[in-house]
């Protein structure tokens, strides 16, 4: 346990005063045509003034339901079935609609996941903001305006006057989220609920918002509930944490207690399935939690986590499991009847650590690859002016190579051209310039239809969205079989079927999935089928475009692990596209950092994650929330938004946001590609010595101790 890991948060005040919010044995159900869905059962929570409480859990475990229940806004079909809900000591369930209206938005405010969706598209920001004081405090227009303006400045929005007049769609996602937060803070609420406030944002933007939230907590003395599925974020923002699983709180306590001395197998499973900085795929592989989250109406008897638990004993499913206090930690409780018996420091039982595998010959060589999109502006005016065609420079001069059995990760913020590169490689788009040599064929300019089946088969792809990756109208088997036949691996009916079965085995799916339709599969299972399909043609290179970013952490681990395993055994080259740097660090051999279509840094994983950094890489790294309390991180918050690819800035592409900008040169000249060591290259004007002198972003406790 290390209290001093981060910037010190106000220590959890164990106060005797009335908590801002107290939920006691709260049970919430939804009523659907399938019957009652008990979404949340026996939920307890206390929030004190100035305290930030985090709620984590996988998708569907009831986090949002809790938040909405606190707002007393359950929709048509939701109902609080039992329990108490006290706001400042007063029972909210007994309040009338009028009283609730008085509380909502004034004493209790909420921020949601999708900032764009939660702002009214047809109203100016100022109107939406001013409503709050106008309604709750009955102030005049002018004062409301002033207060809104001041609050916008408080949430660090540039040019608040302009933003006041703007419509939501005219400002960026990060700004929108700040507006929503400003709206929530306008009436100085006693309790602020944040439901995944940053999930829809890029990491660099997320970092800014997280900073803001931390600041608010300390400045306004607001009680906060922060909902997230990201343990790292909770660690960075909260004092206390409640871990939810399948509608129940399974563990709660202070962040330090839970992160360092968890007392529930599920919490442990969560931690083991996320890559922590410093973790290595060979030494500390991710350990997925087996099985799946049960649906609310199909929960097992006794411990909900029982079927997935490594420590399961028959007693676990005997009856309902109560929350119990962890001895000697008055604030730490767990819903495990065996937490005293379990050895919490034992190494994971079946962590199959592996040897690093040697790389093979070069398989793919990308050389000066450019992809420009031309977007036609079809307005008459543009045609007359001759500006009918605008160019989107999605990829600018990519250079790298990949070897057999190597994992090359491509990282960068949204819109930096990662998917475009994948498309060019796959032949869905043709390169504007440059070469991409697979084996000994240049495929950069050959569309997929003109490629030979073998070539096509050698280059396959795993897609991001598990819900989209399979055609909902065909069975799993037929979709894999089609690939096998198409790539001419097998033609004979029986043999094709055999091969499909082998592939299902390979991705650890039961063989009877052959006849299933995608809608009968969970997200993780679909992604496995996607992997099976990608490997059906014995590919030499597999491009995985954010293959796990839409999955829950526990499933993420399983799918990532699986992908790695298959790649290793097949000695396939993997191009892993991601924005999740922890994951990249965990699994990649080589990392390519992209910004606005430019390759700004490349090198082996160790090289990229240690100084010298490209300033962008540095910022990206620092933005990654880390769930390891022993790791300390330098905070760098980037200003501004990512520029448009249609209108890139002159000189260095990163100059508009660079925290280490050195002067005019950055704005006028394209930076040189500096090489450090063998393959480590950085696109920057800053002198190599200076770059090398950068301190690392992460420091672990040992490293700090060593200093």
């Amino acid at each position: 346990m290390n209290e001093a890991t981060n910037e010190p948060l106000s220590a959890a005040p164990v106060s005797t005063s009335v908590p801002v919010l107290e939920c006691r044995d709260l049970s919430i159900s939804y009523f659907t045509r399938a019957g009652e869905i008990p979404a949340v059962v026996d939920f307890n929570l206390k929030v004190h003034a100035g305290e930030a409480v985090g709620i984590v859990g996988e998708s569907g475990c009831g986090k949002s339901t809790v938040a909405l229940a606190i707002m007393q806004y359950m929709g048509k079909n939701g109902r609080i079935m039992a329990g108490e809900l006290k706001f400042m000591g007063r029972d909210m369930r007994a309040m009338g609609e009028a009283e609730l209206q008085g509380l909502r938005g004034s004493k209790i405010a909420m921020v949601y996941q999708e900032p764009m969706a939660s702002l009214n598209p047809a109203m100016r920001i100022k109107d939406q903001l001013m409503e709050v004081p106008l309604h709750h405090e009955k102030v005049g227009e002018k004062e409301a305006f002033e207060r809104a303006l001041a609050m916008l400045a408080d949430v660090k929005l540039p040019d608040p006057r302009r933003i006041m007049e703007a419509f939501p769609h005219q400002i960026s996602g990060g700004q929108q989220q700040r507006v929503v937060i400003a709206m929530a803070l306008l009436s100085n609420p006693a309790l602020l609920l944040l439901d995944e406030p940053t999930t829809a944002l890029d990491v660099t933007v997320e970092a800014g918002i997280v900073d803001l939230i931390r600041e608010i907590a300390s400045r306004f003395n607001t009680g906060m509930i922060y909902i997230s599925h990201n343990l790292g974020l909770i660690r960075e923002t909260c004092d206390r944490i409640t871990v939810m699983y399948s509608g129940e709180a399974v563990e709660d306590g202070t962040v330090g207690e839970v992160f360092n001395a968890m007392r529930h197998p599920y919490t442990q499973g969560l931690f083991r399935s996320i890559p922590l900085p410093g973790a290595d795929k060979n030494a500390r592989p991710l350990i997925p939690i087996r099985g799946q989250l049960p649906l609310p109406h199909q929960r097992p008897h006794g411990c909900n986590f029982g079927p997935r638990c490594d420590h399961f004993k028959p007693a676990c499913d005997a009856g309902p499991i109560p929350m119990r206090q962890v001895p000697s930690q008055p604030d730490h409780r767990s819903r495990c009847i065996r937490f005293e018996q379990i050895d919490w420091n034992a190494p994971p039982a079946h962590a199959d650590t592996g040897e690093p595998i040697p790389l093979g010959p070069r398989v793919l060589e990308v050389d000066g690859l450019k992809k420009y999109y031309e977007i036609a502006n079809r307005s008459l005016l543009a045609m007359i002016r001759g500006t009918a065609v605008k160019t989107v420079k999605a990829n600018e001069k990519l250079d790298f190579d990949a070897h057999e059995a190597e994992t090359v990760a491509i990282v960068g913020e949204s819109g930096c051209g990662k998917s475009t590169f994948a498309k060019v490689l796959m032949g869905l788009e043709t390169a504007t310039e440059g070469r991409a040599v697979l084996g000994n064929r240049d495929i950069a300019a050959t569309p997929v239809q003109s490629r030979k089946p073998q070539v096509v088969g050698h280059l396959q792809m795993v897609f991001q969205n598990p819900f989209d990756t399979l055609n909902p109208s065909h069975t799993v088997g037929s979709q894999i079989a089609r690939v096998i036949r198409k790539f001419d691996v097998e033609q004979d009916r029986e043999k094709v079927k055999d091969r499909v079965m082998q592939l299902l085995d390979m991705v650890k799916l039961p063989r009877d999935f052959y006849l299933r339709r995608p809608r009968q599969l969970s997200g993780g299972q679909k992604q496995r089928v996607g992997i099976a399909r990608a490997f059906a043609g014995n590919p030499r290179v597999v491009v995985a475009d954010e293959p796990v970013s839409a999955l829950d952490v526990s499933v993420q681990a399983a799918v990532t692990q699986l992908l790695m395993e298959i790649q290793r055994t097949n000695r396939t080259t993997l191009l892993f596209i991601s924005h999740d740097l922890s994951l990249v660090r965990y699994l990649a051999d080589k990392v390519i950092v992209m910004y606005l279509g430019h390759l700004v840094e490349q090198g082996t994983t160790d090289e990229v994650f240690a100084p010298p950094y490209h300033p962008y890489t540095e910022a990206l790294l620092s933005a990654v929330p880390v769930a390891d309390t022993s790791v300390e991180k330098r905070r760098i918050v980037l200003e501004g938004d990512i520029p448009s690819a249609v209108n890139p800035p002159p000189g260095c592409p990163f100059q508009t946001r660079c925290q280490r900008k050195i002067g005019r040169i950055c704005e006028t000249e394209y930076p040189p590609l500096r090489t450090f060591g063998e393959g480590h290259r950085i696109l920057c004007h800053i002198a190599p010595e200076e770059l090398e002198a950068m301190p690392p972003v992460f420091t672990t406790a040992e490293e700090r101790a060593a200093e």
Partner: protein, 343 residues
């Protein structure tokens, strides 16, 4: 955990088996093919004619049971299906019901629920101005509307979907061209288009099919094009492209099955519109031709002979009949949408 989720009684296995897509398809064919042949080929069927509709009756009944079972979640859909299947059943069983000859003049202007002046025939719904039995004409009258309405809608969908897929998937010039012609057709008000086309081709069932296709296909094309534009950016389409599938394969096997869902709801609505259109056209003298009974014709004929409160049953009966059929289609569409939104 006690839930009501699995508390449903186990369904009889037979019905389950019949609900399989293949079985439903066979049942639909059993119902539809004879009916279509009966209406379109008519006398040319020769000796087959009296028997051909026999298999359609049980098929229709089974389909009804299946529909009610599948849609029991939505009352709206069940009511809609009940109305539609009632008329379908009437259509397939008309020849076997104890009805008077719908074309035979017996005694004109007999009011409903009364005997004519001559003979002792009791007329449930009275007779029309020519003395033909209204009940029998009403029952027989649904055959042509249903058959031509459905055929026209189906043809319009085939054409519209095809062009929509091409425009949406291939984009570029194909899209420009198809969309432009779609716009040309769409900018004719439907009725203008109907009038022009039918006036040119002459009034007949087949020409109604053509006219409806001209009028509906562009709208369907737009819908399918929109859906295609959405679906074509799905990963599974990329997956198909990355394995080098031909555009045709992608359109038919990857896109088509997935535009099906939203289209079925739209099709129910459009069936309603087509039924309205056929009735209206027939009323205007551009649609189906006498003498065989048809609701639009019954309205047309009665509109000039029954403008008296006493005789208004001649107008009201076909008007209500066609309204119930359309209401059925609309409720079905609403219900299906409701069901699809819930999933």
């Amino acid at each position: 955990m006690a839930t009501t989720f699995d508390a449903r009684p186990a369904a009889p296995p037979l019905l389950d088996r019949l609900s399989a897509p293949k079985a439903v398809l066979i049942l639909v064919a059993l119902m539809w093919v004879p009916l279509t042949l009966y209406v379109m080929a008519g006398r040319n069927l020769g000796v087959l004619q009296p028997y051909i509709l026999l298999p359609a009756i049980p098929a229709t009944l089974i389909l009804y049971v299946l529909a009610v079972r599948a849609w029991r979640e939505s009352w709206t859909a069940v009511i809609g299906a009940t109305l539609v299947f009632f008329w379908l059943l009437m259509a397939v069983s008309a020849p076997y019901l104890p009805l008077l000859d719908p074309n035979k003049p017996i005694a004109p202007f007999v009011l409903p629920f009364s005997h004519g002046k001559v003979g002792d025939t009791f007329f449930w719904l009275g007779t029309d101005f020519k003395g033909r039995d209204m009940l029998s004409r009403t029952v027989w009258g649904c055959q042509r509307v249903i058959v031509w309405g459905v055929t026209a809608t189906v043809v319009a969908y085939v054409v519209g979907t095809l062009f929509g897929l091409i425009a949406g998937y291939l984009s570029g010039w194909w899209d420009e061209l198809i969309t432009f012609f779609g716009n040309v057709l769409l900018s004719f008000p439907v009725m203008v288009l109907f009038i022009v086309v039918l006036n040119y081709l002459g009034p007949s069932g087949f020409n109604i099919v053509i006219a409806v296709t001209f009028a509906s296909a562009p709208a369907i094309m737009r819908i399918v094009r929109g859906l295609t534009l959405d679906i074509k950016s799905r990963d599974y389409v990329f997956a198909a492209q990355t394995r080098g599938e031909r555009p045709f394969y992608i359109m038919i096997f990857e896109l088509l099955p997935n535009v099906r869902g939203p289209i079925i709801v739209d099709a129910c609505l459009r069936l309603g519109y087509t039924t309205v259109a056929i009735t209206t056209l027939t009323f205007l003298g551009l649609g189906l031709q006498p003498p065989d009974p048809d609701w639009g014709l019954m309205i047309k004929e009665a509109a000039k002979t029954a403008m008296l409160f006493r005789f208004s049953y001649m107008l009201i009966i076909p008007a209500l009949s066609v309204s119930t059929l359309i209401l059925g289609f609309n409720l079905m569409a609403d219900g299906l949408r409701e069901i699809s939104l819930r999933d």
